[in-house]
Amino acid sequence: MPKARAVKKFLKFAGLPLAIFTIVLVVPFVNGFYYTFTDWDGFKITKLVGFTNYADSFADPKFWTTLRFTALFVVVSLILVNVVAFGLALIVTAKLRSANFLRTFFFVPNLIGGVVLGVIWQFIFNSALVSLANKYDWEIFKQSWLQDTNKAFWALIIVTVWQSSGYMMIVYITGLVSIENDVLEASQIDGASPLRTLFSIKIPLMAQAFTIALFLTLRGGFMAYDVNVALTDGGPFRTTELISLHIFQDAFLEGDFGTGQSKAVIMFLIVAIAALVQVSVSKRYEVQR
């Protein structure tokens, strides 16, 4: 193809989408890196300041609270979401007549946005459970879970598992049904118990589904914002702030653009490294077919 025609084709098909992608994503991303090394206040830059913004970020004790809280949240939600989702997938693929019906119920929370779900649970924890606890004298719910840092953590986990397990269930169902029937029949003839089949045949053959589901929950855990805002809004006393909310508060409420953005860059690096490690580790378990 002559060069002029090739360029014309590129512009026709790829020009506009790539331009929008660059303007919306690439430019702010590069800008963001640069800003963290300057005294940017949201409007103008007067000088370069080296690593001052990063030093300030790490000197902020609230940032450490957030990092610890986020790390714990990511690990616990990653494990529980995937265990529950895999269990749901096994139930739905167990050849029950009600499979379709069950799948719908497990999936529905996923259709609804995190804020709406968070607000529903805020009502449950703050009002419904408290009023029931007073009526029937249940000590554990008498004070709202959202008023206590440790219990609020579990409230966040409960809502997250409820919301995300349906989606990951679909990913696992896709993996489970992709296993050929002859393999399963062969293992049955060889006398493998259902549990043995699960661990020695099914799970290894659907490792790709685990790679994807773990990646999605890892990323989702770090990016969680909606449920956090709607459920606790960081309270009590900014002790339940996940990293997204922390950055949002820093920049848009306190006006600390420089440190806010360096925390955002730190977040990006953590997510990128965690995701790369996770994907390369899980890839090793995938069986080539």
Binding site: F13, A14, F21, V24, F29, V108, V116, I120, Q122, I124
Partner: protein, 274 residues
Amino acid sequence: MTRRARLGKRITFGVGITLAFAYFFPFFLVFVNSVKLKYDILANPLSIPLEITWDNFEQAFTKMNFFRALTNSLIITVLSVSLLIIFSSMLAYYLARAKNKVSKYIFLVLVASMIVPFQALMIPFMARFAPLVSYNNRGALIFFYIGFGTALSTFLYHGFISTIPTEIDEAASIDGASDMVAFWKIIFPMMRPITATVAIINALWIWNDFLLPRLVLDEASQTLPLSTYLFYGQYSVEYGQAMAGLALAVIPIVIFYLILQKQFISGISQGAVK
């Protein structure tokens, strides 16, 4: 079937149905309490209503400006998703067919960009786009969704286009069709399954998105999640109205899902395998 297998099935069913009820329970609470009187909610949040009132719905309907929010959500979702389909299918077609280094690198950058969380760039993003947002905030939001959605959508299309034989393009061009005509008349219709996937994944994301609209939209342009959140914040003491507001936010998407259930499930599993 052996007795043991039958028993196993019964237990599975029992566990499944219990869990299904647990998953549905929060919605049940919202629905039953949305038609109760206030004192009834606080006294018996779990029971079915003693007396049904539609007053809560009426109040919530007007106070959260339900129709305006629904219309905003519909406009923003439909336009963003349609434009994303048009742009990313074209881009993916170009990248999958052009066998040169540049297109390979562009594709790599797109894939890599999927790891970048929005939070990592939202601060410079908002500073840079403030003028555009104040000029037309709904338009700006749609523009942003196209930018943020391009990578995943292009990736999904790219995987699909690679399975369409190039002979089809060649045949079209021998018959005298231009690139554009060949793409829209022949290739694009062949991609219906993946277009459904792209549409559903993006529609779910955009319909439910909260952070970006919260940063970008003014009061008159509020989408459903945003107006629900603000409404709940203002009227959370009026439990009945708050519950009616939540019910209103939940109902449209659930109806949509029940109509298109098959497409939803296959869309997500298609999207997951890639």
